[in-house]
Symmetry: C3
Subunit: 144 residues, 3 copies
């Protein structure tokens, strides 16, 4: 087992970071050959998922999230706290903070066009996000 | 490893329960210091995620879910079975039944404003929901 | 621990496969009695979740996904690559590629009306999807 915290500086609402290579390096550098790699972003206004890391589809994803939580409507969270980030919370909860990727033969199993991404949804200009990476498994290759 | 079933009584559609302290007590009471805590709600009309447990943003979340599955349109599920909870199934599937939180130094790793919530989406007045908690890991602190 | 790759042939956009019995057979055939079963679909245009496997609600789910990513609007992904599957990527990212189900007494813990499904979202007529199944746990029954 290996557990690491990685720090991901983001540059504002809608920023999407490809963290695949950072996670892959942790996996290949660990002793786990067969198992899972569990990822979690702490904080309630960011999320993790996979997507093809291509600027067009990243824009399409951000637009889809704005259908769920548009920027031009009132939020009860904002009326109450004046944070102005009600939409950020809603989007983050729907995408979700956790993601589990299998580890096989000491490497992540991902599709060719499938990257692991951290989505910054908060309205602040810059944040440092923490992603917790927990790799659990055996040091033997699987029998696949 | 520790596995427990917790029972969560809900009070109807849109009820959101903060289950963080129940889960945290299981984690701190277990022997696992480094690992993961995997949560799963059984049933197809409830879901798990994280959010800031603040009444305003909870309302905002419920409203966003109703954009995906409004209460004033017809559902094929309802036409067929007369259940009246087609929208509940749709929302539950999109949010998802599972969530994995890291365990570090014998405690859950969560953001300050990030609580673990069970969302009741069914249209019945009351239900008892079961959440399965599985804590997996080592009894040593991580080297973080 | 057991890790297997299962192959799931899909028949086009909106096809939803019930993979519960395949996963259940792997679980009951493994030596793990208490733990988790982690599922992951590789590829960026398919997703995993749970739902009641009933044709009406499956249609309702597909319609809800088309609210997030309609087929009659322009996608930056499509303008750039001409793939025509921008909507597929967006939907897949929002539902997500991973799912973790608890294993108790050597079996999956699911609600009666809760099945594990693979959702094909790509626009191609046929694909072979790979789902990675990783079962982690102990060979003792839990004390539940």
């Amino acid at each position: 087992m290996l557990q690491k915290r990685i720090s991901c500086p983001t540059s504002g609402e809608g920023d999407i970071l490809d963290i695949t290579s950072i996670i892959r390096d942790l996996v290949t550098g660990s002793e786990v050959k067969t198992g899972i790699c569990s990822l979690f972003v702490s904080g309630s206004t960011a999320a993790l998922t996979t997507i093809e890391y291509e600027s067009g589809v990243l824009k399409d994803l951000i637009r889809a999230l704005s259908i769920l939580a548009p920027s031009d409507i009132a939020y009860a969270h904002d009326s109450r706290w004046g944070d102005g980030n009600g939409r950020s919370h809603v989007k983050a909860s729907l995408v979700g903070p956790s993601l589990t990727i299998p580890v096989m033969d000491g490497d992540l199993v991902l599709g060719t066009w499938q990257q692991i991404v951290l989505i910054e949804l908060d309205t602040r200009a810059r944040r440092d996000r923490n992603v917790l990476v927990t790799i659990i498994g055996e040091s033997n290759n699987s029998d696949l």
